[in-house]
């Protein structure tokens, strides 16, 4: 029984974590077979992937979970916008964008305070 208790969390990790996640990567490997980097299909797939990424980002900002919920939506949106503007203005540096966005979020979170 103790053996079951010890291994159970790892079995769960494989069944509900690893497998449902990894299946999409393996399917991707199958679908990518024979496709050329410059083909029209790949161009479309890149568009799909990019739109999904934008969607993931938007959802994480608009409806986050955990501690991020304590920061008002207006501050989260302002911080994202500030990060993007800083990136464009400061030599297209991702570092600069992330630093400025974080500063606005934490500063705004402190001011708006829970």
């Amino acid at each position: 029984m103790s053996l079951v208790n010890e291994f159970w969390p790892y079995l769960v990790l494989i069944l509900v974590g690893f497998l449902p996640n990894e299946v999409w990567r393996v399917l991707g490997l199958v679908f990518a077979r024979g496709l050329d980097e410059d083909s029209q299909v790949i161009l479309w797939v890149r568009g799909v992937a990019t739109a999904i990424l934008a969607g993931v980002v938007a959802k994480l900002i608009v409806s986050p979970s955990g501690a991020l919920l304590t920061v008002p939506l207006s501050v989260r949106v302002a911080a994202a916008a500030a990060g993007l503007i800083a990136f464009l203005l400061i030599r297209r540096s991702v570092f600069a964008g992330v630093l400025v966005g974080e500063a606005v979020l934490i500063g705004g979170g402190l001011v708006a305070g829970p």
Partner: protein, 234 residues
């Protein structure tokens, strides 16, 4: 595998903004795992095997919060749909005439937003025969940063002020936003990016099922249509 290119990938990982972003994100995840009563070994293995922060948040808070196994598995698989088009778009860029299947499997496993964005930025200027080894180095480096971040979060962040915890959670959307903006050079990508940003929250607000999948198909197809339209008018 040529050592120089594997090490080149490792080095690229550590000079990438994502090494630091992942470190910070996984500090937050480590604290979350501790809160929900998972062991540090379990957390580390989940980072190596799942290697997708959104899915890991779902697993930890779902299992820790008492959701059913089926429910968690379903939520994880829905969050992971994005990996399919990413792998399909990445592998043809990586693949050379002598790339082995185990290398492609490993690269598919390493595919995550951070690794995908950095690979598509760095690979095109590189000789094709070096790309796979470089990618494996890059993935290894980024996972290492995440594992170390998780350990730090697990052991060192008891009683983290809530606004700093919020800041760590914000690293993920913020860094994705800025780096995808940097990588979006073609009309397809720019249109898809702008549309995705608007479509996903709308679909989520109206509680449409499979919202991310629809966001990708609609945004990507319209972006592709815009590109074809411009080509046709030339």
């Amino acid at each position: 595998m040529p050592e120089a290119t594997f090490q080149g990938g490792l080095k690229a990982a550590w000079t990438s903004v994502f090494a630091y972003v992942l470190f910070g994100t996984y500090v937050g995840l480590g604290a979350l795992a501790l809160d929900f009563g998972f062991s540090v070994q379990w957390l580390t293995l989940s980072t190596i095997f799942v290697w997708a922060a959104p899915a890991q948040v779902i697993i930890i808070s779902g299992l820790g919060g008492g959701a059913s196994l089926i429910e968690v598995a379903l939520a994880v698989t829905l969050s992971a749909v994005r990996l399919l088009p990413m792998v399909v778009a990445l592998l043809p860029v990586v693949r050379g005439p002598r790339t082995r299947t185990w290398q492609l499997l490993l690269i598919a496993h390493f595919t995550a937003i951070s690794m995908w964005v950095e690979s598509l930025r760095l690979l095109p200027t590189m000789p094709r025969e070096q790309r796979a080894a470089f990618c494996i180095g890059l993935g290894t480096g980024l996972i290492s940063a995440a594992v170390i971040g998780g350990l730090v979060g697990f052991y060192l962040t008891a009683g983290l002020p809530v606004v700093l915890a919020a800041g760590l959670l914000f690293l993920t959307p913020l860094s994705f936003l800025v780096s995808v903006a940097r990588n979006s050079r073609t009309l397809v990508e720019r249109t898809a990016f702008g549309l995705g940003f608007v479509i996903a929250p709308l679909l989520a607000a109206y509680k449409i099922e499979l919202d991310l999948l629809w966001t990708g198909i609609v945004g990507g197809t319209l972006g592709f249509a815009a590109h074809r339209l411009r080509e046709a008018m030339r």
